[in-house]
């Protein structure tokens, strides 16, 4: 059994005592004697008690925390008051992440997070272990997991020996797949909009202005203008300032997040590293890939860039605390992205079948209705207020309808590959999803009342990736209804075929293993490891 790094007591109690110290500060303010005014001494004493309690707790946590990597499981014993023994079968490990913040980098310690498919949160967090111990754990968990899935019984219990061969193998087959280039990082930083940045931008602005927004406004210039225009101009000026601040912060955040992004492949896992101040690194097991997503957002698509994200069942895009960790490539040339995606899942060419033309009519009708609603709204506003006068001017939007309908239609498509189901949708953020048939959980054929009018339907291949609000499943939108049924049947049939093929492979493998333990790696295709 191993314990955490001793420095983790200091780091953990620092953050802990900030919490408890603040709590006791509040308590001290509330209960301080005298009623009219706070007694500095007693508040200080309470804060000190809070900090000391935090340190004691963290020391106990450190003393109680033990973990051990056995041949086929990872065991953790932890808990100060309520104790918990947790055993993680290595074959079930989905991702291993290493995170290091600035303090951690100075002290040479890192946090290790281990994800499995079940549960809503990280299954095991080691906060903190020594840096090289973190990397050793990652390697061993990885090799343990792959050994477990291919049922090889040759993982040596002798730790030092295993470690030596392991690190040797590491040097041998760790292959650099991708490294972000300065200009890619620059483009990514400039054009990425970080939702959190707007809030930070607002805070930064209010600090810069000394909590008086008026100081930032060039009122002396605007004052010359007459009447309500100056008010509008002030508002616009404030908005511009706010957007500028949000954009600068967003760019800075993105820059630090993806600085030094590297993706390497070691055996059957991808390994990424990134971050300027906080270092993040983690593994993506290729054998557990559920879906590949190639996304080309509009400014990046103009420059010929794309991004790739890999969804496993451990976590998926949008998981709040690990934002971006899952993206295999934040930004690269579209060709390179396609090449790398094929290295993970060898899918064929992406020449997609377009939805039938009557789907485009459907979009045109939909957008016409939107325009009609806007005109109607403008009419209502013009009728009852004086803000809008030429309400009918909005009818000019109608010229955009055919363009929008065509763009929506032309960016949609699907393909039934030999082993993959490919779907594409979205004009602003065009996403192409690649789903191996083997990963399909259920196939849905949906037709709304409006789709049925035009004999259209949407076919969804559902996988186990923990999709969230934004992570959409692979759906072929608005295909011909009968063709949709065909697609559905084909996906199911190919899934069953893949299952049977794998069953055969496993049986054959077992015969071989009974005969003699084979040296070559029997894991057949990268996309299909259990």
């Amino acid at each position: 059994m191993r314990s955490l790094h001793p420095a983790s007591v200091a780091v953990r109690s620092l953050s802990r005592s900030l919490n408890t110290g603040f709590l006791f500060f509040v308590v001290g303010i509330v209960v301080s004697p005298g009623g009219n005014g706070t007694d500095l001494l007693s508040v200080g004493a309470l804060v000190a008690i809070g900090i000391v309690m935090g340190i004691i707790y963290e020391f106990a946590y450190y003393r109680r925390f033990r973990y051990e990597l056995t041949e086929n499981s990872f065991d953790v014993t932890s808990g100060v008051i309520a104790r918990r023994d947790r055993e993680l079968p290595l074959g079930r490990v989905q991702n291993v992440d290493i995170r290091q913040n600035v303090v951690g980098r100075i002290l040479g310690i890192a946090a290790v997070h281990i994800e499995t498919a079940g549960g809503g949160q990280t299954e095991v967090s080691l906060q903190y272990v020594a840096e090289d111990e973190a990397h050793r754990l990652r390697r061993q968990l990885r090799s343990g997991a792959s050994a477990e899935t291919s049922d090889a019984a040759d993982s040596s219990p002798d730790e030092t020996g295993a470690q030596a061969t392991e690190s040797k193998r590491e040097a041998d087959d760790e292959k650099l797949l991708f490294e972000i280039r300065p200009h890619e990082l620059a483009i990514l930083s400039v054009f990425t909009i970080d939702p959190g940045a707007s809030l930070l931008g607002g805070i930064a602005l209010s600090f810069a202005s000394g909590f008086d927004p008026a100081t930032l406004l060039p009122t002396d210039r605007i004052a010359g203008l007459p009447g309500p225009e100056s008010g509008l101009l002030t508002l616009a000026w404030g908005l511009v300032l706010f957007l500028l601040a949000a954009w600068v912060i967003s760019a800075a955040l993105t820059f630090t997040r993806y600085y030094g992004f590297r993706l390497t492949r070691a055996g059957d896992e991808l390994y990424y590293e990134r971050g300027l101040l906080q270092r993040y690194s983690g593994t993506i097991p290729l054998g557990k890939v559920q879906t590949l997503t190639v996304s080309e957002s509009i400014p990046f698509r103009w420059f010929g860039y794309a991004a790739l994200s890999v969804e496993t069942a451990g976590y998926a895009p949008g998981q709040s605390d690990s934002r971006g960790t899952e993206s295999a490539i934040p930004l690269a040339d579209a060709d390179r992205v396609a090449e790398l995606a094929r290295a993970i899942e060898p899918f064929g060419p992406i020449d997609l079948e377009a939805p039938p033309r009557r789907a485009r009519e459907r979009y045109a009708v939909r957008y016409s209705l939107v325009v009609a609603a806007i005109v109607g709204g403008a009419y209502a506003v013009a009728r009852y207020t004086a803000v809008v006068r030429q309400w009918y001017a909005f009818a000019a939007l109608v010229v955009l309808v055919p363009v929008a309908a065509h763009l929506k239609w032309s960016n949609r498509g699907y393909r039934i590959d030999d082993r993959y189901f490919l779907t594409r949708t979205g004009f602003w953020r065009r996403t192409t999803k690649i789903v191996p048939y083997y990963r399909v959980q259920a196939v849905l054929h949906q037709a709304t009342i409006f789709q049925r009018r035009r004999r259209l339907a949407s076919v969804t291949a559902d996988t186990a990736s923990s999709a969230t609000l934004l992570g959409r499943a692979a759906t072929a939108y608005d295909v011909d209804a009968d063709r949709g049924l065909e697609i559905q049947a084909t996906i199911e049939e190919r899934l069953q075929n893949r299952l049977r093929a794998r069953q055969r492979e496993r049986t054959v493998e077992r015969w071989f293993r009974d005969d003699e333990s084979p040296d070559d790696d029997p894991s057949a295709e990268p996309g299909d490891g259990g």
Partner: protein
Amino acid sequence: MERLTPRVRVVWIALAIVRATIFGGFLVGAAIALMRTDFWDAAPSILVPAAVAVAVVLAVVRVLIAWRRYGVWRFDLRDDDLYIERGVFTRVKTIAPYVRVQHVDSRRSPLERATGLATVVVYTAGSRSSDVAIPGLTPSRAEEVQESLRRLAIESAGEDAV
């Protein structure tokens, strides 16, 4: 293709009526409140009858939808997968392979117990509305379905279902 037990319409219609009553209660209540208080001075006298009419129409529509839902619902335990067809407005045809079944529940709400029906719920690891439920089965049929699903899931289980 198997249909549901016709009795399931009783459950659905009862549910539709209960929901329509609650909604209609709010609607008519709001209309009466508007008439009684001087919040809206020029409230037309037709307001309350109109609210009642809307509530009644909505209730009738809901009952019709519940009736129609029975006509659409079909399911089939095929060789390798469970096939379900449902939906009045959005017609959904789901294929759930047995290999992917994580576990199977049988569930009976008070209303279902009163009418002697049961629902079988099939869970998969999928992320998107793929937890499928088959309502309106007689308890014995529900047990059979659950049992055969369990058997088929075990038979087809190759390796981990994720």
